[in-house]
């Protein structure tokens, strides 16, 4: 039982890490600020979600599981807000969204 | 030692801290009175501490009731009390001076009034923190606690420099802040290395455990560099002339008189109590050489200045050299105590004299509206007290009897002759001659009699009087040398020398 949980948790964390990797690649390779934001927030939120899910499986008590979950929710909220602020500032600053030609 | 007896020790630290807090709350109007009250309280407590130490020997005080390696101790020996006394005297004089300084500024015109009121409030809070940190530094027996006092000292001193908002004052204040922060960080790195190597922070414990090794040598180097930078030892004095000359005069007096001495004291304390005389003869020789170079370089530069306050600032570069000469002379040989006490005595007399001279200069600049040395003709007629104060301080710098500077030089010169390093004696005496030159650089034009009509000038009587009184005190400091030297003997690191020397 313990080892099944352990494997599942490891797998989930690995999936999360893959999303982080993808998000990082997107941050480096995408053409403009809006695309990069997309890569960052979406991939990282999902990635962190998987990592959190994996860690919850390892959590000793319900309370710590709840705390870990809370971290994810807070990151979701602040990440979304930060992305919104950056995008707004970029639009106001006159940066035009990139269009594929 | 009774309950009250040892508790005097915390008064010079706690009292100004309380005043600073109160001064921040009550605002500018009552701050000067609080400051003066505090000054008298500190004088009283320092006198009580001094008497206790003279009668009963060194005091160790366990803060929070915890013993040394775990807790923080305060420790008062002769040297610490000597520095406390120096700070109390100069501090009280500057406090009195500041009351007059900020009041007369307010009278000047409506425009500056509100501004200087703010500045006066900030001055008192900063100065009270500075005073608490100085007293705390002299009394602390804990390496990390010394760091905290150093930082309070640096921040409040830099804050005092930037009270003057001219561009030059701001940039020299900025540079001073960098220097003082870097010095503190170098010190802290040294403390961290000592903790890594020896596992303690209490100075006495560190001294017992000291061994020469990679970590302790590095710690010595970092601490020495940091403190030399903060004290302004040649060639690390680059920040000093600007910082001292661009600040408002009460701040210049405090910086040149006291703040530089505190970092010197810290080096002295660690050098002899922790590092066992610098872990060998080599480092002391280096510091002595730099000190000798500072004496000559600073004095030559001072002679070449065209501005009164810059002249004084360069004179400080030179006078700090005298302090560092002691590191090459103070060994366990028979002349060790003479050299050590000579250097420390010089710190005292220079603190009083230089503070008094900056205070005089401040009054003069305030009155004549500039500090151009070439246009000082007739100042002696207009402001006899200020010029007299300046002259008395100048005589102390030259080291003529009966000044405190004479006692200090006498001790240093005799130690250098006894040790066979006669070239140090030559430098010391040459420094005195050069000091005469730069002091005359101001006195010559100032004493010229000129015919000028009565000019409307800001009232500076209060300033002149306080400056003169302090200079007068430093002038006769040699008369007190017997009790002061007796005080310095208590708990000195040269106790073994003294036993040999005095049967």
């Amino acid at each position: 039982m313990a080892s099944v949980l352990g494997w599942a948790s490891a797998a989930l964390v690995l999936v999360g890490a893959f999303f982080f990797l993808a998000g990082t690649v997107g941050l480096l390779r995408f053409p403009d600020v809006y695309n990069r934001l997309h890569a960052l927030t979406k991939a990282d939120n999902v990635g962190l979600g998987f990592v959190v899910l994996g860690l919850i499986l390892q959590a000793g008590s319900l309370l710590s599981a709840f705390k870990i979950l809370l971290i994810w929710l807070l990151v979701l909220a602040s990440g979304a807000t930060a992305a919104h602020l950056v995008a707004t500032a970029a639009l106001r600053g006159g940066i035009k969204p990139w269009k594929h030609r | 030692m009774g309950l009250i007896g040892s508790n005097w020790l915390v008064v010079p630290i706690v009292l100004p801290l309380a005043t600073a807090t109160l001064a921040m709350l009550v605002g500018r109007r009552s701050a000067p009175y609080l400051g003066l009250l505090t000054a008298s309280g500190i004088l009283l407590s320092v006198a009580a501490i001094g008497l206790t130490v003279l009668e009963e020997g060194t005091i160790r005080y366990q803060l929070g009731g915890w013993e040394a390696p775990l807790g923080i101790n305060l420790y008062a020996d002769g040297l610490a009390v000597f520095m406390l006394l120096m700070t109390a005297i100069v501090g009280a004089a500057v406090s009195a001076y500041a009351v007059g300084y900020f009041t007369s500024r307010q009278d000047e015109s409506g425009r500056v009034a509100g501004d200087s009121g703010d500045r006066s409030g900030s001055f008192w809070v900063l100065w009270m923190f500075l005073w608490a940190s100085l007293n705390g530094l002299f009394l602390s027996a804990d390496a990390f606690n010394l760091y905290v006092t150093l930082e309070i000292m640096g921040l409040s001193a830099a804050g005092l420099v930037t009270l003057e908002r001219r561009q030059s004052a701001l940039s020299s204040g900025m540079r001073y802040l960098f220097v003082t922060l870097l010095g503190s960080l170098a010190y802290l790195m040294g403390v961290a290395l000592l903790y890594g190597a020896l596992g303690a922070l209490d100075l006495a414990t560190l001294g017992e455990l000291m061994y020469p090794g990679a970590a302790t040598w590095s710690a010595l180097a970092l601490i020495t560099l940091g403190m030399a930078l903060k004290t302004g030892l040649f060639p690390l004095h680059f920040w000093m002339p600007a910082a001292y000359s661009n600040a408002i005069s009460p701040a210049s007096a405090l910086l040149a008189g006291l703040v530089g001495k505190a970092s010197f004291y810290l080096l002295l304390r660690l050098w002899f109590d922790v590092f066992d005389g610098g872990l060998g003869p080599g480092p002391g020789q280096v510091l002595g050489l730099l000190g000798a170079a500072a004496i000559v370089w600073g004095a030559v530069m001072a002679v070449r200045q065209r501005r009164l306050k810059r002249l004084l600032a360069y004179s400080s570069v030179s006078q700090i050299g005298y302090l560092f000469v002691l590191f090459s002379l103070a060994t366990t040989a028979s002349w060790g105590f003479d050299a050590w006490s000579g250097g420390v005595y010089h710190a005292f007399s220079h603190a009083c004299a230089k503070a008094a001279m900056f205070m005089s200069a401040g009054a003069i600049v305030r009155s004549v509206g500039h500090d151009d040395l070439d246009r000082m003709q007739g100042v002696g007629q207009q402001m006899p007290l200020a010029v007299a104060g300046f002259a008395l301080g100048g005589v102390t710098l030259m080291g003529l009897p009966p000044t405190g500077g004479f006692t200090a030089k006498w001790l240093l010169v005799s130690a250098s002759l006894e040790s066979g390093q006669w070239w140090i004696a030559v430098v010391l005496l040459a420094g005195g001659v050069l000091a005469a030159l730069y002091v005359l650089r101001f006195l010559n034009p100032a004493l010229i009699q000129v015919k000028v009509g009565p000019v409307a000038r800001p009232a500076t009587q209060n300033l002149e009087v306080t400056a003169f009184v302090l200079a007068f005190g430093s002038f006769f400091l040699a008369l007190l040398s017997a009790p002061l030297l007796a005080l310095l003997r208590i708990g000195t690191p040269f106790a073994s020398v003294l036993l040999v020397g005095t049967p």
């Binding site: - | 706690v14 009731g65 905290v148 309070i152």
Partner: protein
């Protein structure tokens, strides 16, 4: 094995990151890298079993300090400033500033000492690095074990957490002076009488409902977290500093998002709030002298209670100070009194 590799990478990354911070041309980028540096330092402290200071570093060292830097860089370069100070500066200065600001955009910095200075510096600096490296590698087993002594005396300290015991009992004098430093810093910053550079932020954030929503959501959470950290400090990592840092960050957030107007330096409520921690600490430390004969030596029976009281007030003052260092707008002479009356109510 894996953890050793992780430590090695982290330890290697820190100096490299520091190097990047100091060599990146763009100052904004340098500050962002600095924040990353602070977070990595916090991570390495977490690795070194120091959760207390990891928390403090993440909140104060990286977070608040980083925000301070960003704010200053923003104030220095790029933005045209309000002409509040124009009256009392010479024309020449204004022109010089114009010349500098004529190329807004990236705040860049390339001013360095000449190459020969840099070359000459490398020798002593490398020597220092080698000496220090040798020193830390060859640390002997120390003769004194303060860790043991601290844990032996933990019983008598009134609290169950080592770091809190050191901070508020064994070495409480250091902590007292350190709170003094905070107070001193605020006074020193105020004495500079800075212009109102940050006024723009509140206006900027108008019409950003998302941000306001987030801040409204975070406010109760951060208050709970701060209270929890304070309460937990007696037994486990946490305490007045961490709690104060969290609450201070909340203050900064509230002001920057425009939900609360920046407090004025001469508001007496603010002044009392800033000083109360230091005053209570000093007062209790002095008062116990009557009972036990030494400064800061708490009577054994009431040690825990006194420490909690001190920590409570410290938290208030630390939070206010950190926020004040960041957002206090000193009053301009002319308009001071008017705004003062206006904002009296915000103070609570």
């Amino acid at each position: 094995m894996l953890s050793l590799f992780f430590d090695a990478v982290l330890a290697l990354a820190l100096p490299l990151l520091a190097w990047r911070v100091l060599t990146t041309r763009d100052l904004y980028r340098a500050v962002i890298l600095f924040i990353a540096f602070g977070l990595l330092v916090a991570l390495s402290w977490a690795r070194l079993d120091a959760p207390d200071i990891a928390l403090a570093e993440a909140a104060i060292g990286a977070g608040l300090t980083g925000a301070l830097f960003l704010n200053t860089v923003g104030g220095l370069v790029g933005r045209k400033r309000s002409p509040s100070r124009e009256s009392d500066e010479s024309r020449e200065v204004a022109e010089r500033r114009e010349a500098i600001q004529s190329s807004p955009g990236e705040p860049v910095d390339e001013v360095m000492r000449p190459w020969w200075v840099r070359l000459a510096l490398t020798v002593p600096i490398l020597a220092l690095g080698l000496a220090l490296g040798w020193a830390v590698v060859s640390f002997p087993e120390p003769a004194i074990d303060l860790a043991q002594q601290a844990s032996d005396n933990l019983e008598a300290s009134g609290v169950d957490h080592g770091v809190t015991a050191v901070l508020l009992n064994f070495r409480s004098y250091d902590t007292l002076l350190e709170i003094g430093v905070l107070l001193l810093a605020v006074v020193a910053v105020w004495s500079l009488d800075l212009g109102r550079v940050r006024g723009g932020q509140a206006a900027l954030s108008k019409g950003l409902p998302v941000l306001h929503g987030l801040v409204r959501l975070l406010t109760p959470i951060m208050i709970i977290v701060g209270g929890y950290l304070l309460w937990a400090g007696a037994k486990q990592p946490g305490g007045a500093f961490q709690a104060g840092a969290v609450l201070g960050a909340l203050g900064v957030l509230l002001v920057l998002s425009g939900l609360v107007r920046p407090p004025l330096s001469d508001g007496s409520g603010l002044r009392i709030g800033l000083a109360v921690g230091f005053a209570v600490f000093l007062g209790i430390g002095t008062a116990v002298m009557l009972a036990t004969g030494e400064l800061l030596n708490y009577p054994p029976a009431s040690t825990y209670g006194l420490i909690i009281i001190i920590e409570l007030f410290l938290t208030v003052s630390i939070a206010l100070t950190l926020a004040a260092l960041f957002v206090t707008a000193p009053p301009r002479k002319e308009q001071g009194s008017k705004e003062h009356s206006e904002e009296k109510g915000e103070e609570s």
